[in-house]
Symmetry: D2
Subunit: 364 residues, 4 copies
């Protein structure tokens, strides 16, 4: 089903961008977990738009309301449902798009699938707005993972041709959480300045730009994951490609590994503190779909936001004729930097799901 994922922990998101509310149901959360709602709200704040010229001016307060699953602030074993009421709706902005699909958007494929009577534009399953309930689920998962010593963090690796520094091979939890504390989520602020300039330049030209996010998780137990079709890579990929605009995913060296020799890419084993570890981490913490216990690392590519102010070539679906399209409304010149908490959130829910399914940490 399109709106759900997970095995032991089921995440089900609902809502339309321009409906009454959006939300998420989490089924399978362990009982007895205190949830810090203030910290959750702080996490949600990281994906909120409208903070500066780098993102859309659409306002969202996004205060989630927990309808079930908590008793006195502690998970009680029942499914947790959280909703966010929609407040700032401008559905009119999408009115002129009804007959003319936006290039790079799902307007056309939705029309091909469901026909003209189903209007999916500006909302529904294709809206970036549904990443807000994903962040609620992820923010809760991150708190539960943290109590088991697992941290997840991401930063903006590149925008256009400008790059941040990479995470070190063995990052600390503190370093992983550092980018999320900044207004622009990078490791190196000088590089971040250049990356922001790329975004602002695109915005000024009525255009947009893509970017790459690097994410890492530390503290995973060696042995987490299953071989073949149920490994860490399979599970993460199946879900991460559900984030709007994602077009590529690589673990460890990823595409770079294809250019290496085996003697360069293999990670030699060593013994550290009585544990088997690897000297390097080209494999991104995963061998045969299963965690090595070293940092899990991946990079994920976001295409440029398809909604741009520049006129574009489209067609009239009713008349089957060419038509020039100009999109109005408020749009992000880049989605990658706002997607960072979403990437962390999705990764956290997938990792927690696996930990619950495989009963790591016993009473988790």
């Amino acid at each position: 089903m399109a709106s759900e994922y997970g095995t032991a922990l089921r995440i089900s998101v609902f809502g339309q961008s321009h409906g009454a509310a959006i939300g998420v149901v989490m089924d399978g959360l362990p009982a007895g977990e205190p949830i810090d709602l203030e910290a959750l709200n702080g996490f949600l704040d990281r994906r909120r738009p409208g903070k500066d010229a780098l993102s859309t001016q659409r306002k969202e307060t996004d205060l989630p309301k927990i309808l079930s699953g908590l008793r006195d602030g502690v998970t009680c074993g029942s499914p947790l449902c959280a909703v966010i009421e929609n407040q700032d709706q401008h559905s009119g902005d999408y009115r002129n798009l009804a007959d003319c699909p936006r290039p790079g958007h799902a307007d056309f494929t939705a029309w091909a699938k469901w026909g003209a009577e189903v209007d999916m534009r500006g909302g529904g399953h294709f809206s970036g707005r549904l990443t807000a309930p994903l962040c609620i689920a992820g923010g809760i998962a991150l708190q539960i993972l943290a109590r088991r010593g697992i941290s997840v963090g991401a930063h903006l690796w590149s925008v256009g041709a400008e790059n941040d520094l990479p995470f070190p091979v063995f990052p600390t939890p503190e370093l992983l959480s550092l980018p999320g504390t900044k207004s622009f989520p990078v490791l190196d602020d000088a590089r971040g300045e250049r990356m922001q300039h790329v975004i602002l330049s695109a915005a000024q030209e009525g255009d947009s730009v893509g970017g790459i996010v690097e994410c890492a998780a530390v503290g995973l137990p060696a042995g987490l994951g299953e071989p073949m079709f149920d490994g860490l890579e399979n599970r993460l990929a199946a879900t991460l490609f559900g984030i709007p605009a994602v077009k590529g995913l690589e673990f460890g060296e990823g595409f770079g590994a294809a250019a290496l020799r085996g003697s360069e890419n293999n990670d030699p084993f060593c013994v550290r503190n009585g544990h088997v570890e690897t000297v390097s981490n080209h494999c991104g913490g995963i061998l045969g779909g299963i965690a090595t216990g070293m940092p899990l690392t991946f990079r994920i590519a976001f295409k440029p936001t398809p909604s741009i102010a520049k006129p574009q070539q489209s067609v009239s679906l009713s008349r089957m004729e060419p038509e020039e399209l100009t999109i109005r409304g408020r749009h992000d010149p880049c989605i990658a930097h706002r997607a960072i908490p979403v990437v962390e959130a999705v990764a956290a829910t997938v990792l927690l799901d696996l930990i619950l399914e495989e009963h790591f940490y016993g009473t988790v």
Copy 2:
């Protein structure tokens, strides 16, 4: 469920590299489909090793035996089970690895997960040998897809630093099937010579090398796929990462899209022959998880084969001490070119599954 995938069409592979037989069960095949066993065998022949110095000298005849699911050569609606008997077993080759995990292999993670008593080396869920039953399933799926006008083809895009030419933006079915007819599956034979040289050089040095495969499918109906977590990208990614040694996946422009402007990456719409099509295909035939009807394109990165002849640094798991490891036996200096039919096979089963689930073509 490590060994299974699919929704309407369930694929379940079984077998160990050094057991009695390997095989696959396909549950959900449409009834009434004639299966050309000779053509199937020709397809399987493409992944067979031992043909030249570019691959392991292990012999596999791999003639599959259909145990159920066919009546007079036509699918009958019951699950189809096909097996391949194992003939050329050299389990002794792996004996000295029991205590000393091979770098880049799942030996260590299997040990961390299941403990010392479970011996997964040289077989089981981590064996490339299990890609043979995947090819049986895929070979059957390809025949059924072809009857609906859908073709899937792949070629070796790169090895080390050497590249093939890319598929054209709108490839014909004939071009897609061309590389598979060659002993070395590329579009441009001169470039293929250089790529083979890279593989042979690595082999001569007791080393291995990685590669990238480009795959495309033409003839998909616009509208195939579901939004969010059940789209074409999600389904393909979840399964393709189950092929051993895959570390990266990108659709359309993929990681390259991250460096583009929206005005460059968006594919303008046009009307051709009464249908809405796109002028370019940067999106790889997928918008919002749903097929545009244009070619589906993706690239998939294979790491260098981890089994190399060069001595490597490992540890003794029983003594928790460093140990130098030298791997004997027969190994592929590169896995990417042999993986091409596997990529086609997995893609075909995922596409057929979606077509059956969504009831495209009615009686399929």
Copy 3:
């Protein structure tokens, strides 16, 4: 996952009896279906308690609020979420049960499963209150089924030793809906009087009584359902046993068929109006898991409500000693007659799920 079911149509319920709200998410509803909220409310009204001495005096207004999935009263393809706010909470009533499990309830098994710190009593997954969101889902499914000519209806077949008349072999849609229009849902009102008397007698003695519900569906297309583990019986059984207090289920003649000869139980075929039909319907409209097109019929047994006023023998879980238990609070002397819309609702969602999955009626 405990709180979810369905394949093409996923139903996910959430909420605790004594939390902020309860609700349901339906993922996979077809787009373009008008939903009559007034009719839905009328359906929900049938399971509401507090109407007379035959049920608990707990008041529930149960007006559902649709948070997503509708646009102008019509399904839009996005998941539909509906919630009911909890208004009449008496959590204090359950306080004295914390250490002393109620016989016949899940108090003890929840304690055995999750330990003392998880308090499941009077709420959570074991609460009859969660049948309200099931009825929302079912009420919506019934409206969509009705547009395809499918009707589902149930009546109270027995209470204690008193019986209603059975449905005729080939009931009309009108007859199926008749019991639901009555304050006591039976076919024969004189027999209903005697059945009510059984309930009231039990209530006056501080006791409770069980009952059996008979349900039928007409208008199903022949061919609906899958063989083996995915048939109509499997799907219905898997879900119907999720209704609290259900302990038995039989299709057609059911247990009675075990006492028949084949020549008595087999339903002879005939041709009526150009269609193959059966003369009788001992099989309950299902052969090999697949609908015959004749009425689907089943009976479902509800145990007596375990919460009774009479003192009962229990134990103190903390002291591991016998303890006499007296349950206070408001309880149903019989649950079977209130469960009738729940049975209809669950059956409707399962049937709609199958119809969507198998693409009967094309655009459904």
Copy 4:
């Protein structure tokens, strides 16, 4: 997925009655479990037909061949595939049925579903022959359960109007296994004589008769199972209704509970040997879907074998006219007594699946 079931342990059966072989794949078996193939074969022997006049004279030797999943007789973590070659095929016997559906069989519903070109008769998904691979899976599951102190046993509770004695409230493992050691699987042999007489009488008249099987499992840990839609009853029901000819299922008192008062049906708690137990077991060892730790008990109703020698009224599907049908070939006059190991087998796989999923017994 008609041919598969299970969550942590996936069971996938394949084969046609009149094809080359039938078999089963078990994915998710724990590694390190020795499998006694002789004991497995003894278990399979219990469902073999052709032993006396009480069953069909069709001969099946049914010696299973393990293709994968074992190493030196011990499970190795890979999927286990076992096949049985078909030897005694009389497909001609079914030839005259092609146009004339057998009453009580799936001939008609298969025709309605798949059309005339798919011939499902005498084989495929509707064949009782596929219960043989189910018994392989179940026989293996029973051995693994036995090592955790869990025993499953069943006996023929009734045939026509004749009854066996019931299991005592708290049966020993020895008593559970007793009926399976007899040529006619009952507790009381004198009653068994009368039951056999009922079967033989029906056979002599060219007719058949139904029966009820009672099954129990002892040694289950309290706390096994999940609430709502994933409880013991849901899981068992979803799978048990996949056994051919099953039309009813009840747990504990089942339908009888509907006629009881709460004070009669509730099981009082007591403390025995430091554990909380119940004095009686009307609930069949399940409260709220979760095991109480007391014996799990259920009864399952089998309809009379639909294939009878007596002429029956059917129709010609091609001419849409009435036609009298006489079925030739070898058929069971009663299926219930031969189904007893099948019921045990299915119950065992479902219970083992739950134990693996919920990680009871740690290393299981």
